[in-house]
C-alpha cells in the first residue's frame, strides 16, 4: 500500500470505497502490515485487534455493497487505552489493571463502532493519563514519528504517534490539561477538545472529573469534524453530558472566515514561547487576516493564576485513586505515584480557592468571547522535548497554554502551523464559545486549506 493511502482522509477513503477503487478489507490488511513494520520503533499500539479489525472491515464492505452512506463506514481507528472496550484488554498504561478485559464499552467507543469504523486496536496512554512511562515501566513510551528521540506528547501519546505515522485515520483522545492538543501539536496532527459535556466520558477512566474531556484526533480538521459528529451528543451515563442538540459540523466547514473576529490574548500565552513558534503563530494570523478574518489583541487578566488548575487536577485525581494508592502503591509508576499523592497535600481551602480562580477565568473569558468569535494562541510554548529532558523527574508540571481551556471547558482545536528548524511540528490553538465547535472547526479548516503543513509526512 502506498503512503498516499495510509494518509488518506475520511472523505477520500469513503469516495474510493464507493467507487470500488479500494476496499475496507484491503486497507485494513495494509494498515495492519504497516503497523507490524513501523510500530516496533514507535510503540504506539498496546493491543492490536487484527481479527476484530478484519471482521469490522468485512461488515463495512457488505454495508457499502448495500448502499450504506454512513461516512465513517470502513474508516480505520484506534482507541486510547483509557477508553473501555468490551472484550478487549484495557490497561490505562498501568500495571494496576493487569490484563483487565472489560465487559462494557465506553459510549464513544460504541458510537464509533455503530458508525461503522474499523477498530485496529488500543493505543498507549501515559499511565492513567497523567504519568509519563519512565524506562522500566510495564509499557515502553510511544515515540514521536518526527524524531524518535523526542516525546509525542501526552497523555494521548499513542493516538498522536499512530496518526502521524499513517497507522490509523482517526483516534480517540482525552484531555484534562492538554492531552489531546499536546500530542496533536508535537506530532503535527489535529486534535479537538470539545466543549465540556459535548462528548460523553462514560466508560473512560477518570483523571479529574471537572477537567476531563474526551474528543477526536485526526490528521485534518475535516476528519476531526467527521469523527466528532459520530461521538457527540447527550448521554445519560455521563452526569456532565449536555442535552443541547448536536450541530452539523460538516455543513458549515467550508464557509470561510470572512468577518470572523479573532482575539489574541496577549497576556499569559506568550510567556516563554520560542521565537520560531512566535514567528509561525504570527504568520498564521497573517494568513487568517488575508482570508478575511479580523484579528485583534485582547487581554484576559485572571489567566495569570491559571496554573492553580493543577491543584484541582491533583486533588480530584487523588480522590479517584486514593484507595489503590493506599493499598497497592507499588503498582503505580514511581513518578506518577508521587504526582497523585501530591493531591493529598492540597487543603480544602486551597482547592476551593482554585475553583474560585477558575470561576473568575471563566467569567472573564466569556466576556471576551462577546467581543470576538474565536481566541487564537500558540498551542505549546516549545516543540516536542527530547526524552532526555522529559525523563527528568524534577521537571515538574510546566505551565500550560492548554490548561486554561480545560478550566473554561471551551471547545479548542490544535492544528499544525509550521515546523521548527530541527524539523519538529508547531501548532496553532483556536478556541471558541461553548458548543460552537462548528465555528472553531470552520476557522481551522479555512487555515488548513490555505496552508500545506498538514500534508508533510514524518520520516518513518
Amino acid at each position: 500500500m502506498s503512503d498516499e493511502i495510509a494518509y488518506a482522509g475520511i472523505r477520500d477513503l469513503g469516495a474510493r470505497y464507493r467507487k470500488r477503487e479500494l476496499s475496507p478489507v484491503d486497507v485494513t490488511r495494509a494498515l495492519l502490515a504497516r503497523i507490524e513494520k513501523l510500530d516496533p520503533a514507535l510503540h504506539a499500539f498496546v493491543t492490536l485487534t487484527a481479527d476484530r479489525a478484519l471482521d469490522d472491515a468485512r461488515a463495512a464492505e457488505a454495508a457499502l455493497r448495500s448502499g450504506d452512506q454512513r461516512p465513517l463506514l470502513g474508516i480505520p481507528v484506534a482507541h486510547k487505552d483509557i477508553y473501555l472496550t468490551r472484550g478487549i484488554r484495557t490497561t490505562a498504561g498501568s500495571a494496576l489493571l493487569a490484563e483487565w478485559i472489560p465487559d462494557e464499552e465506553s459510549t464513544a467507543v460504541r458510537r464509533w463502532r455503530e458508525a461503522g469504523t474499523v477498530l485496529l486496536g488500543k493505543v498507549i496512554t501515559h499511565e492513567f493519563a497523567f504519568g509519563i512511562q519512565f524506562p522500566g515501566h510495564r509499557f515502553p513510551a510511544a515515540r514521536n514519528p518526527w524524531n524518535l528521540d523526542h516525546v509525542p506528547g501526552g497523555s494521548s501519546s499513542g493516538s498522536g504517534a499512530a496518526l502521524a505515522a499513517g497507522l490509523v485515520t482517526g483516534a480517540t483522545g482525552s484531555d484534562t490539561g492538554g492531552s489531546i492538543r499536546g500530542p496533536a501539536a508535537f506530532c503535527g496532527i489535529v486534535g479537538l477538545k470539545p466543549t465540556y459535556g459535548r462528548v460523553s466520558r462514560a466508560g473512560v477512566m477518570t483523571l479529574s472529573w471537572t477537567l476531563d474531556h474526551t474528543g477526536p484526533m485526526a490528521r485534518t480538521v475535516e476528519d476531526c469534524a467527521y469523527l466528532l459528529q459520530a461521538m457527540a451528543g447527550h448521554d445519560a451515563a455521563d452526569p456532565a453530558s449536555s442535552p443541547l442538540p448536536v450541530g452539523d459540523y460538516l455543513a458549515t466547514l467550508r464557509r470561510g472566515v470572512g468577518g470572523v473576529r479573532i482575539g489574541v490574548p496577549r497576556n499569559y500565552f506568550f510567556e516563554g514561547v520560542d521565537a520560531e513558534i512566535q514567528h509561525a503563530f504570527h504568520e498564521a494570523l497573517e494568513t487568517l487576516r488575508r482570508l478575511g478574518a479580523e484579528v485583534r489583541d485582547v487581554r484576559i487578566p485572571s489567566l495569570h493564576a491559571a496554573h492553580s488548575f493543577l491543584l484541582i487536577l491533583m486533588a480530584e485525581a487523588f480522590a479517584y485513586h486514593e484507595r489503590d494508592l493506599r493499598e497497592r502503591p507499588e503498582l503505580y509508576g514511581e513518578v506518577l505515584r508521587e504526582r497523585l499523592l501530591t493531591g493529598a497535600l492540597v487543603t480544602a481551602s486551597e482547592y476551593t480557592q482554585a475553583q474560585r480562580i477558575r470561576a473568575e477565568i471563566c467569567r472573564e473569558t466569556a466576556e471576551m468571547l462577546r467581543e470576538v468569535d474565536v481566541l487564537a494562541t500558540p498551542t505549546t510554548p516549545k516543540p516536542a522535548t527530547s526524552f532526555a529532558v522529559a525523563h527528568d523527574p524534577e521537571l515538574g508540571f510546566p505551565r500550560s497554554n492548554m490548561a486554561p481551556f480545560n478550566l473554561t471547558g471551551l471547545p479548542t482545536l490544535a492544528l499544525p502551523c509550521g515546523f521548527s528548524a530541527s524539523g519538529l511540528p508547531l501548532s496553532l490553538q483556536l478556541s471558541g464559545r461553548p458548543f460552537e465547535e462548528a465555528t472553531v472547526l470552520r476557522v481551522g479548516h479555512a487555515y488548513e486549506r490555505a496552508t500545506a503543513w498538514h500534508t508533510r509526512r514524518p520520516p518513518v
Binding site: A232, G233, H234, D235, A236, P243, L244, P245, V246, H304, A305, A306, H307, S308, L310, L311, M314, L325, R326, P329, E334, V335, E338, R339, L341, T342, A344, L345, V346, E350, Q353, A354, Q355, R356, I357, A359, E360, C362, R363, P393, E394, G396, F397, R399
Partner: protein, 69 residues
Amino acid sequence: MADPHELTLDELRERIRVAGITIAEHRLAMVRKLLADALAPVRALDSRAIRPVEPAVKFVLESEGRGGE
C-alpha cells in the same frame, strides 16, 4: 524573613504527616516544586477580591433543548 508564599520543606513534611501518606525522601524535592508551583497563584490571591460567582446548585429543565440520546 521567610517568604509567606514559599512552601518550606518543614511545611511539606507536616502536610505529608497530616495526610497520612508516605513519600520517598528522594522525591520530596519534586513534590515540593509541583505543589509550590500550583499553590503560588492561590497564595498570591486576595481571597476577598474574588466574587463568589459559582452557583451552589443549577437546575436545567428536561424540556430545554434536549437532543441526541
